[in-house]
């Protein structure tokens, strides 16, 4: 049964994974656009980053070279850097106006 499972699994081609990463990207994007809380918004951008990572690993596997996975490592580092920065910013904003709702910040407008 596992063999069968494996074969069914083996029919999974690159496009399936790309579709998965695309979906993940869209979910992240939609989350970013709709959720009001800043921290959740940042998490959604992290989601988008991971979508790209999946695409990289899948295509790396498809093209039989490791550059995809190397790229993922760097994506993680950059994501970590952004996380640090995002949280620092969130703390700063919270300290200033004790609210994390994105819509409260609309002073700069036309």
């Amino acid at each position: 049964m596992t063999l069968q499972l494996a074969t069914t699994f083996s029919q999974l081609s690159l496009s399936h994974y790309l579709v998965l990463s695309g979906l993940l990207f869209v979910i992240g994007l939609v989350g970013f656009l709709t959720r009001r809380n800043l921290i959740v918004m940042f998490l959604c951008t992290e989601l988008m980053f991971q979508a790209a990572a999946i695409a990289f690993v899948a295509s790396g596997r498809y093209w039989f070279n490791f550059t995809g996975q190397v790229f993922v490592i760097f994506i993680l580092t950059v994501a970590a850097a952004e996380a640090a920065l995002a949280l620092a910013l969130v703390v700063l904003l919270y300290r200033r106006r004790s609210t994390l709702n994105a819509d409260d910040w609309m002073e700069l407008c036309e």
Binding site: L14, L18, S21, F25, G28, L29, F32, L38, M41, F42, T45, M48, F49, A51, A52, A53, A55, F56, A58, S59, G60, Y62, W63, N65, T67, G68, V70, F71, F74, I75, V78, A81, E82, L85, A86, L89, L92, L93, R96, R97, A102, W105, E107, L108, C109, E110
Partner: protein, 518 residues
Amino acid sequence: MIEKLWFVIPEAVLLVGVVVVAILGLVRSGQIRNRVPWVAMAFVIGCGVAYPFVFTETAVSESTSLLPGLGRPMGLVACVVGVCLVFMTIGRIDRRYEQAIAEGRDRFDPLRSNRGEYYVFFLLSLAGLMLTCSANDLIWLFLALELTSLPTYVMVAMSRSSRRAQEAAMKYFFLGAMSAAMFLYGFSLLYAATGTVELTEMREILTAQAAEGGISMLAVVGMMLALLGIGFKLAAAPMHLYAADVYEGAAVHVTAVLGFIPKAAGAVAFMLLLSTMGWFDGSTLPLPILILLWVMAVLTMTLGNVAALLQRSVKRMLAYSSISHSGYLLIGIIAGPGLGFSAVILYLFVYGLANTGAFAVLASLEREGREIESVEDLAGLRQKHPGSAIALAISSGSLLGFPPLLGFWGKLALFIAGIASGHIVLVLIAGVNSAISAWYYLRLVGLPLMSEPSERSETIDRVAVPWPRFAAIGIAAAMVVLPIFLAGIQDETDVPLPPDTADVVATHESGDQDASGL
């Protein structure tokens, strides 16, 4: 590998500078802290001096990267404008906190002083820009772009203690993160389509694909997403919405940095990515990409110019003007290698100088301790501050592109490139746009020089520190003097074509860009 490291020496100089400046910024004695900007400037000049030695003729000809000729001119331009940017901020960072310490009202507390940190982030961002130029693969490009923009998020947040700066930083960060995710996803699709991240290999694969059947849709979609993502840095059309709020919110000297460094990095990234898809194998860009660039160029120019007409705040007006200049840059990029790219670099230099000059004038003036808000504040500036008024007039005249000033020659190079590559309609649209821009630039010229001072503009007086005013007047003088040395500047900013593809491209544009440049 060594050959790769050889080209990173200038950036290395900057990184050393970062460390030194960070340390000096936390020293207890006031004099040393006052020296920090000069040290930073010294390192930038050092990096600029390093360029001619690193990018010698031989080194460039052997290098296997996609656009070897791009590194040297862009680096020099970045350093020169970087020097002006630093020169403008001397004495402005932590001015009140340093004054308080000097007068003994406050004790030095390393945690609160961010004079050193500002220059750290500035040098990092500058290094990021230079790294983008020498990028030859997607990973390096991704890292360099992130290195350029992350420090700028921090600079925006810490530049002013006001709520507006934090709001600007919040918007800038989140939208920046979203666009970073977008172009990263684009990169992933590109990798999926071509199987490599090396730009040169990617070019071979894509040309092979184009030859026998056409570039796969995956690659094109990937490229488009990448371009749109990086478009955020250029503040190009669909991604330009953040620019006005962020430029208005951030402090004047940070806005000047935002106006140049991310935009330059974006333009370089565009050039590198697009070179993989066309031009060098004698073919034009794929149609969808070309249309995308066209739409972005036209939308950016028009929206930028048109929106600036309605603005009452000076910084917001200059924000929209810098958006419109991104549109003009896109013409150069569409025009392709040879004429197009050298015109882009030249225009980056000219625009960078003029924009910094304009912001330097704003930096040198204040109203009751706070920055200048509305354009009416500048009315009748001539009476009290003739130097700043004339400098602002010349800088905005140059941004407008009025003949004898340097700005005109930059725009002329862009127009010539646009026409030489057959995009005469685009040039006409740019012409009409620069006519529209004459409206608000002339307000910047007319108000300070000619109209009577209103009661709001009476209270404007100079910032205690003289350096921003010197920067403004120096840049204005450059705007008038530099056209005389234009031939020299143009040789410096010329982007020669990679040797092996020179003849191929020559046939494409029916021979008007041979290797030796025009």
